[in-house]
């Protein structure tokens, strides 16, 4: 479809849709608000530091460098690593690509096996699949019904030929919190050269992260996922671990990603992380309260619903993923939108590919279960009253769509 038609039809749609009286935004799987403190930090940088960029032979450059240093030190101390171990990219997807492709470029001969869990983000799976085309052996680690990776599989299959393992610490769709330390110990026990990468994009701000304790080699982060500005990603690279750039050009303070640093964005990112973690205990229990309010009420009050991912403490505080059987997810999201509730779905109808969410299929959900899934993520900034509104609207919509359907819960 060409742009002008697209624009016309979207305008029509927006107009017809109207602005709902009440709005609750829960599509944090995609993107969401920016913390005001983070926005302010970025604005100030644009006004005062933004002119310069680090590492130049003049005062604004030194000032920029100093602010970049401070921001990185704050972020590093929160995730307990050295600031030298952080490199910035422009997104979480880029950090994942750098981790996977950048390790492979300089992989020693005979180390051609790459393990990724079957529920990783596409920015981990796709680069790994590219490597497969280039002669690497890609092994997908199976997961159980709650999304936990099979640690026995790892201890059986990791060998001298293994180059790296990539498993996200918090799954972005079903909120499973993996035991990365156990994964690490089992892996290094078989072959201590294996690089351990964890995609921590969905974890930052949701659980405490301690690089020293996790003792992984590589970890990816995304600014907008932790309510920071867009245009910033970060990769933790443990001291001594070697990577090669995958994009080429002028390097500066960022030794692995070329181009002028997004200093204002980085300052905003660091401020977002700082804000969240200085209120972490409160924010975490707030999220858990809201999450469980939604999960419990939906499972108790709407028939034929299934929680995707684990229940309770082993689940990310922000994550609600529920399948509404006999409902199709896209129809749910659109009707919710018309009621001011903004969520996403694992339905094939909302994806570019024919198939529904690979994560839901990997944990053994049937197609119709995956099609009927809704993903909602709460933030510390939501309220109980937001949840009450969702719980008021959602059952009505589910009922209406089920009433239209040729397959009813009863006649199956």
């Amino acid at each position: 479809m060409i742009y002008s038609d697209l624009s016309k039809s979207i305008k029509e749609l927006i107009e017809f849709h109207g602005i709902p009286k009440r709005e609750v935004y829960l599509d944090y799987e995609n993107s969401g608000l920016i913390i005001p403190e983070a926005l302010r930090a970025m604005e100030e940088a644009y006004k005062f530091n933004g002119r310069g960029h680090p590492s130049i032979t003049h005062l604004p450059g030194w000032l920029s460098y100093e602010s970049l240093f401070k921001a990185t030190s704050i972020f590093a101390s929160i995730i307990n690593c050295n600031p030298e171990e952080i490199v910035y990219t422009h997104s979480g997807s880029e950090a994942n690509n750098l981790a996977i492709l950048g390790s492979a470029v300089i992989s020693p001969k005979g180390r051609r096996k790459i393990f990724v869990s079957s529920i990783e983000h596409l920015s981990v799976i796709f680069p790994a699949e590219r490597l497969e085309e280039r002669g690497f052996k890609l092994i997908k680690i199976p997961v159980d019904k709650e999304g936990y990776i099979d640690l026995d599989f790892i201890s059986e299959h990791v060998d001298d030929e293994t180059l790296m393992i990539s498993v996200g610490i918090v799954n972005h769709e079903i909120g499973t919190i993996q035991d990365i330390k156990a994964l690490r110990d089992i892996t290094k026990d078989k072959n201590k050269e294996v690089l351990i990468h964890t995609d921590a994009c969905a974890a930052l701000g949701r659980i405490k992260l301690d690089m020293k304790e996790l003792d992984v080699d590589l970890a990816s982060f995304s600014s907008h996922k932790v309510y920071g500005p867009k245009g910033v990603g970060a990769l933790y690279i443990k001291e001594g671990v070697k990577l090669e750039p995958i994009i080429y050009g002028q390097l500066s303070t960022q030794k692995l990603w070329p181009g002028v640093e997004n200093v204002p964005g980085i300052l905003g990112f660091s401020k977002a992380v700082e804000t969240i973690y200085s209120n972490f205990t409160e924010y975490k229990s707030k999220m858990i309260e809201l999450r469980d309010m939604l999960i419990n009420s939906i499972l108790n009050n709407i028939d034929h619903t299934l929680l995707n991912g684990p229940y309770g403490d082993k689940r990310s505080p922000d994550n609600i993923n529920i399948s509404f059987i006999y409902c199709e997810g896209e129809a749910l999201t659109v009707e919710l939108s018309m009621n001011g509730i903004y969520v996403s779905s694992g339905s094939a109808c909302t994806s570019r590919v024919l198939e529904p969410s690979h994560v839901l299929l990997a944990i053994g959900r049937r197609y119709e279960e995956a099609h009927g899934s809704l993903l909602m993520k709460v933030t510390p900034f939501h309220t109980k009253s937001d949840m009450e509104y969702v719980l008021e609207v959602l059952p009505r919509i589910v009922n209406r769509l089920r009433s239209i359907s040729p397959v009813k819960p009863s006649n199956r």
Partner: protein, 163 residues
């Protein structure tokens, strides 16, 4: 999740999605058919009440499991066929449905296909125990074939993923 396709539904689609016409079954329908499946994430049932002497469609209803476009397509199709002869109804293509809806986004063409597929299956069902007219082709039409292919593909995929 992978929800990143621009869904540029026109006003008409959303309107019919919110307030679909002709929802439900027909008491004493003399033709009905289903296309799609739960696994596809798309399923349409068409119910017809046909006047036995004139072959005119007196009433048409639908049930749909699927996205907004799916519901809108089924709804508008039932409106388009009411009062028409079966031979005229047969001629309606997925493109006609899409046009009537003000244009479907490309990723949603299959919704129009599925609705027409269900209708044509219902028409075939009607003639199952009756004298088949000349205008009814022996071979599957494009829409019926596509519906069948989608169903089969999904069966395979679904089986594979359950292993």
């Amino acid at each position: 999740m992978s929800s990143r396709v621009p869904l540029t539904y026109g006003k008409k689609v959303i309107e019919l999605f919110k307030n679909p016409k002709n929802v439900g079954k027909i008491e004493g329908a003399n033709a009905e058919a289903l296309a799609g499946s739960l696994a596809c994430g798309d399923m349409i049932a068409i119910y017809l009440k046909v006047d036995e002497t004139s072959d005119k469609i007196i009433d048409a209803k639908f049930e749909s499991y699927g996205c907004a476009a799916n519901i809108a397509a089924a709804s508008i199709l039932t409106e388009m066929i009411k009062g028409r002869n079966l031979s005229e109804a047969w001629k309606i293509s997925w493109k006609d449905v899409s046009d009537e809806l003000g244009g479907l986004p490309q990723v949603k063409y299959h919704c129009g296909v599925l609705a027409v597929g269900a209708l044509r299956r219902a028409i075939r069902a009607y003639y199952e125990k009756r004298q088949k007219p000349n205008w009814l082709p022996k071979e599957l039409s494009q829409e019926e074939r596509h519906a069948l292919e989608e169903e089969k593909l999904m069966e395979i995929l679904a089986k594979r993923s359950q292993k």
